[in-house]
């Protein structure tokens, strides 16, 4: 199916569908803005990390976690505008080929949080084609919600790296993430099992 004709889905709905399938303490890195807002709204898990800044770094951060913990599956939720700032990271991921990394590209075609301005991908940039061109063979668009569910199942059952493109509508986020970066980092490290502290967390 042509990328431009894909059925547009809701970010919050897809995020809830993803979270519902995570049964093995998988790490999820929510990119800046609405990508992590809806991850927060879907219900906090100790293995969720929420980015309050550093646009474009969701995939590099998830890659660092994936390399450090090869036995744990890691998901990066990255917006289309953010990915455009750091397209090179797709080549980096393809070269290192971490089996435990899945990237979800939340593509609503706009900088929604700043007023819905169109991104420079409006000229026809296709993120799945770009990913495949970078060497990521397991890169596909999800055609609808049922296909999304099946793709997530595949990513949880097979070796990656995987990338799924998601065409989204302009539904606003369901909540806003709390903004205390040291606390978010501390809770995530406890969720990763690497923070050993007698302080209650």
């Amino acid at each position: 199916m042509a990328e431009t004709n894909l059925h547009r889905m809701h970010r919050f709905d897809l995020t809830k569908r993803l979270v519902a399938k995570l049964q093995r303490e998988e790490a999820v890195i929510g990119g800046i803005g609405h990508s992590n807002f809806d991850l927060w709204a879907a219900g906090h898990r100790p293995q969720n990390f929420y980015m309050l800044g550093s646009m474009g770094l969701a995939i590099p951060i998830a890659l660092g976690v994936a390399l450090a913990q090869p036995a744990r599956r890691c998901f990066a939720l990255e917006g289309d505008g953010s990915l455009l700032m750091q397209l090179g990271c797709l080549a980096t991921v393809a070269t290192l080929a971490p089996k435990n990394l899945t990237m979800l590209i939340m593509d609503n075609g706009s900088y929604q949080i700043t007023g819905g301005q169109a991104t420079p991908a409006a000229g026809g940039a296709d993120f799945v084609a770009i990913a495949r061109g970078c060497g990521l063979r397991s890169a596909v668009w999800a055609t609808d919600e049922t296909d999304f569910d099946a793709q997530i199942d595949r990513c949880l059952a097979t070796d990656g790296p995987h990338l799924i493109g998601l065409k989204l509508d302009d539904q606003p986020p369901a909540a806003q993430t709390e903004r205390d970066p040291p606390q978010l980092r501390d809770r995530f490290m406890r969720g990763m099992g690497v923070k050993k502290s007698k302080l209650p967390g």
Binding site: A27, I29, F49, L52, G53, S54, G56, L57, A58, I59, P60, I61, A62, L63, G64, V65, A66, L67, A68, Q69, Q86, G88, C89, A91, T92, T95, L96, P181, P182, L184, R185, F188, M189, M192, G193, V194
Partner: protein
């Protein structure tokens, strides 16, 4: 007694092992080539060649979140590429040690290297990075050791700037 003039890259590698460094992220620089070779030959160190230094700030942060210590290697020009991203280790209070080979600071031949080379320490410090300079080969190992200790014990970005006096000013055969 070792010959520091030639061996400082090996001394940095030895410090990586002493500090338990498991991830090294880099944009290659000629000044780091011997250290990079040592890291690539070590199965206990994951070397990531980056497309931009910004990626490295995210990678080192993610590695720390996952329980591994990392170091970022780059040239001084690369410092300019990742200034905004230093917000990540500052905001989250995490280690981000950087070892920067300098251009544009001592005997530079390329006019284009001067602006960023001259500004490297200032902009790093403006973003809250603790910066120490190594001006001689003998300075390198103790300065890198201090940079690693400061990063991992006090949870912040730190940098050693290795002077062109140590590396030798490049001439590209001129």
């Amino acid at each position: 007694m070792s010959d520091a003039a030639a061996d400082w890259p090996d001394q940095i590698y030895a410090l990586f092992k002493e500090h338990g460094i498991r991830q090294v992220a880099l944009v290659p620089d000629a000044g780091h080539s011997r250290l990079i070779k040592r890291c690539l030959a070590d199965n206990d160190i994951k070397v990531t060649t980056l497309t931009t230094e910004e990626e490295g700030i995210g990678l080192i942060f993610g590695g720390w979140l996952g329980g591994e210590k990392g170091v970022l290697l780059m040239q001084s020009s690369g410092v300019g590429n990742c200034i905004n991203m230093l917000s990540v280790p500052i905001a989250h209070r995490t280690p981000c040690p950087m070892i920067v080979t300098m251009r544009g600071d001592y005997g530079e031949f390329n006019p284009f290297q001067i602006p960023m080379g001259n500004a490297t320490q200032t902009v790093l410090e403006a973003m809250g990075t603790l910066v120490k300079r190594a001006e001689t080969p003998e300075d390198v190992a103790p300065t890198v050791n201090a940079t690693l200790r400061l990063a991992f014990n006090t949870y912040r970005p730190t940098a050693t700037l290795i002077s062109q006096r140590v590396i030798g000013a490049k001439t590209f055969g001129k």
